[in-house]
């Protein structure tokens, strides 16, 4: 096989230059070109019908005053009015932006810090690691559900478990979930509680750090903190980056817990009005689907922007030990 192809070319599809004839002829007889599209067709139909077409439709709708009640053919084009309203005339929109940003900026770093901290505690192999890892991971499986959000809200009620815990120390708690200053914080705690998923990723990353680096650092007299700063953090930076991107995007989309806490209103006093909840209320409660579409597009662009910022700043602090020069 290697005889017929140039070195370093084995995995190319080969649109550049003439292909070695025997392989080309073999491929044609094998019928990969057609088969590729046969196998891809469900995905392609989905891409067109479930993703691309709705995106375009929503872009168009964002310039209209469409509500679900009037037929699509009678929709009025309103130009940039939806965007104008969003940015200048709808204080609750900015409120939703602020709530979402606050949630992501606070909950994501704390969640990742918890994940990394526990991963470091679990890092060395010893009996019982598997059990702990499993138990810490469990909240990540259950935490996104309505059931757990219900439990959470009750736990931080005036007479919930959290306040009875505080009472042990003689502290009188607040009705956290109905206090506009604290409701969002209870949702952040719920997010942090689900630190297991990024923790597992950190554990996998920690396994890749060569022991020799720690030994060399120890020989040079580096203490535990110094070894963490100088070896663990840089070696782990690709994994930190991966987790940061994933969790931030995930954090922007928090919906279920905020919906349950506020019974779908974003209350108390809009304090848990996450962006997706605001979008849901506009689209499906107020039936202003044109307006909701404009919101969805801004959301999409914001997420794309945040991702782009992550990737462009990543090269300043993400250290790839094997891929730098090649």
């Amino acid at each position: 096989m290697a005889l017929t192809t140039a070195p370093g070319r084995t995995s190319r599809t080969g649109p550049v230059g003439p292909r070695p004839t025997r392989r080309g002829a073999g491929r044609a007889r094998y019928g990969e070109g057609l088969a590729g599209y046969v196998f891809l067709s469900p995905w392609l139909i989905g891409l067109m019908g479930i993703t691309a077409l709705p995106m375009l439709l929503s872009l168009w709708l964002s310039f209209t005053d469409y509500d679900i009640l009037t037929p699509l053919s009678e929709v009025r084009w309103v130009g940039l009015a939806n965007y104008e309203r969003m940015f200048t005339a709808d204080p609750s929109y900015w409120h939703a932006v602020r709530v979402t940003l606050t949630f992501a900026l606070v909950a994501v770093p704390l969640k990742l810090a918890a994940a990394l901290g526990v991963a470091l505690l679990l890092n060395r192999a010893w009996r019982g690691v598997g059990l702990f890892r499993g138990l810490f991971y469990l909240p990540s499986l259950l935490g996104g559900s309505v059931a757990l959000a219900i439990v959470w809200v009750n736990m931080f009620n005036r007479d919930g478990a959290f306040n009875s815990f505080l009472a042990l120390f003689g502290v009188e708690g607040l009705p956290w979930v109905s206090d506009p200053d604290w409701a969002l914080q209870t949702l952040m705690v719920l997010a942090i509680w689900q630190f297991g998923a990024p923790m597992v990723i950190f554990l996998a990353g920690l396994k890749q750090v060569p022991v020799e680096l720690y030994e060399a650092a120890a020989v040079d007299g580096a203490g535990a903190w110094r070894r963490f700063r100088a070896v663990t953090l840089p070696m782990l930076s690709p994994v930190i980056f991966f987790n940061l991107v994933l969790e931030t995007i995930h954090g922007f989309q928090g919906f279920t817990a905020a919906f349950v806490l506020s019974n779908g209103t974003g209350g108390p006093v809009d304090s848990t009005l996450m962006y997706t909840l605001k979008l849901y209320i506009s689209g499906f409660t107020d039936l202003e689907m044109g307006y909701a579409s404009a919101m969805a597009w801004v959301f999409l662009l914001a997420i794309a922007l945040v991702t782009a910022v992550f990737f462009s700043t990543g090269r300043f602090w993400v250290h790839y030990s094997d891929g730098d020069d090649s």
Binding site: G33, P42, W43, L57, L121, L148, A204, L246, A296
Partner: protein
């Protein structure tokens, strides 16, 4: 200094580490145990005894919760199970087909499609919900005879790019020599898929199936949007009905049904713990 003394006495350090871990486990598990305990407390105890466990065990909340609405909770469980299982089938089949094409076959524009697929990985579902709702509604599928079609159709069209990606990554590990050998024996791409890729992809299919089930079982947003009559409700949507009636008397039954709703996920966790913990999260790191 402390690091030095600790290193001299590794036993101490290990004990401290264990102590910290046990404390974290206690905090992490507390909400779950409290939920379980509250679900078997009597009405009076829910108000007066906020401790973890009930003084006397009363399973009445489960009976009451099961029959709390005009329609038995069993119906919601059946609906949820049906949606989740069909989603599993859809994801497994459609994502495997797409992954075979993108990961294994050579055809025009393959790289372009692969990049597009990666691009849809980060696309938030909330962005598409309004236009999808409008499209499915114009096709008469929202609130139709069988209102689950808008929930299921996307999964039969491999729109869950995460699983496509997972399977492409997995297939990279299957030796190409097997394909070549089958080709020499005269197999077509369909034959290679049937006799080589399909049987060897079983681990990736199992991972996809388990996570499809759990995610769909827990999913709320799409089910909330697309289901509008009580008898069609799935478990998460039905659970929110309890919140509407915020009276104290509903807390016990609400907790009981919450516990039941988490049970399938918990059983999956017990059965496949190792695979769940290792399988999915690290898959994005390879390659």
């Amino acid at each position: 200094m402390t690091a030095l003394t600790a290193r001299r006495r590794p036993g101490n350090r290990q004990a401290l580490r264990l102590l910290v871990l046990v404390a974290i486990v206690a905090v992490v598990l507390y909400p779950l145990v409290w939920m379980l305990g509250t679900s078997v407390k009597s009405q009076a105890e829910i108000v007066n005894n906020i401790g973890l466990l009930p003084e006397d065990f009363t399973p009445g909340n489960y009976v009451e919760g099961w029959t709390n609405f005009d329609i038995s909770f069993g119906r919601f469980f059946l609906n949820s199970a049906m949606v989740s299982l069909l989603t599993v089938v859809g994801n497994a089949v459609s994502c495997l087909l797409a992954a075979y094409a993108l990961g294994r076959l050579r055809f025009r524009l393959r790289k372009v499609w692969f990049i597009v697929m990666i691009g849809t990985l980060l696309l938030p579902g909330h962005v598409l919900i309004v236009p999808q709702y409008i499209l499915f509604r114009s096709l008469g599928l929202v609130g139709g005879d069988w209102p689950y079609l808008p929930l299921l159709i996307p999964h039969f069209l491999a729109t869950e790019a995460f699983f496509v990606f997972l399977m492409v990554q997995f297939m990279r590990g299957i030796p190409r020599e097997l394909d070549e050998a089958a080709k020499i024996d005269g197999a077509t791409p369909y034959g290679v898929f049937r006799h080589v890729i399909l049987p060897l992809s079983r681990p990736a299919l199992v991972t996809t199936a388990i996570f499809s089930f759990i995610w769909t079982w827990n999913d709320f947003f799409r089910q909330l949007v697309f289901l509008s009559t009580l008898e069609d409700y799935t478990v998460p949507v039905a659970l929110t009905l309890f919140i509407d009636s915020t009276s104290q008397s509903a807390v016990g039954p609400m907790f009981a049904m919450s516990v039941l709703s988490l049970l399938p996920v918990f059983l999956f966790f017990l059965a496949f713990q190792r695979m769940l913990v290792e399988g999915i999260n690290t898959s994005g790191l390879k390659g």
